[in-house]
Symmetry: C2
Subunit: 179 residues, 2 copies
Amino acid sequence: MREAGRLFSEQGYHPTSVADIVAALGVGKGVFYWYFPSKDELLIEILRSAQQDLRRKQRAAIGDEPDALRRIELGIRASLVWFHEHRASFNLFQFAASEERFAPVLRNNHEVAIADTARHIKEAIVEGRIADQDPHLLAEAVVGVTERLGRAFLLQRDDSVDQVADATVAFCLRGLSGE
Amino acid sequence: MREAGRLFSEQGYHPTSVADIVAALGVGKGVFYWYFPSKDELLIEILRSAQQDLRRKQRAAIGDEPDALRRIELGIRASLVWFHEHRASFNLFQFAASEERFAPVLRNNHEVAIADTARHIKEAIVEGRIADQDPHLLAEAVVGVTERLGRAFLLQRDDSVDQVADATVAFCLRGLSGE
DNA sequence: CGGGTTCTTGACCGTTGAGTCAAGTCGCTC
DNA sequence: GAGCGACTTGACTCAACGGTCAAGAACCCG
């Protein structure tokens, strides 16, 4: 599954044939269809398990931090570390989002992530620490910046995670802050 | 070309066959290969012309505005209006970025866009109006937020462009601003 | 051992889809 | 209206791919 993820990520899902995958693994084709009902299902499996892992890491990083803004910061940092360690999965997310067949798998999880972030933001708004705007929109912005900077500076270039994380957190927290 | 763009965007590039395209147009297959050397080349053509159009609109919106921050704001607004009017192309960008074959076409243009934004940002930094950080990174963040909020609120939901634009500009300018 | 279950193989099948091409049609010029 | 080049058609080719399956190997339990 790891190998298949790597291949999908490197060459794209469609251009990677089942024959390629089993050849890379040095096994017969039957073995593939013994473990997975179809190529599509394999991708969905990969996506699901990657998402699950990411969310686990985020939760672990946030722990029971009481400060809402700090929770957002920890979430951003955990995400960037994960992106850095799982480039292949990160790439796949982008493809999956562009195909109607796979988008629903992501959408669900994405909505939960946004809702979570929005909760922290709402709390901070109530505390009067950030601008009183639609928390949903702000959450989308924060997640968007994180993913974008992750892609640009951790995957395409190869900057230090901490440096990128510092800058991302700074930008987001300023972006959130009321006047 | 517009019809092909619509189909690619709706069903995905790979699942849309040349037969689908010519059927939707009510013409023979030969006509397709008279005008385009291959299916891949058609997508590249679509991408190029969409990018060109977007950049033209951005330039037109910015005009010769002397204020650097205002130039950034105008760029963001023009982009969001364009995304709203060209959902299909916007979708295609996302797919193209995920396939090694097409990514280079986007990358080039993307780099120019980032460099442009970074120039405005650098100018504002010199004027002491925003935080002294890597302009390249800030540019990526601004473009990232714009695309993300465009996708989330103009394509998936269908909010008013002006409302989304106001919020995007507010978040970005705050994110840029020094302390 | 024997027999049953779990896994593995790779040749094979059916279909799909990109791209070709011989045979036109249309409209233009002389 | 003959001749020519620009365009159009859709049946056809051919390779590739997802998925199947009959034939085992490997392992386990009694």
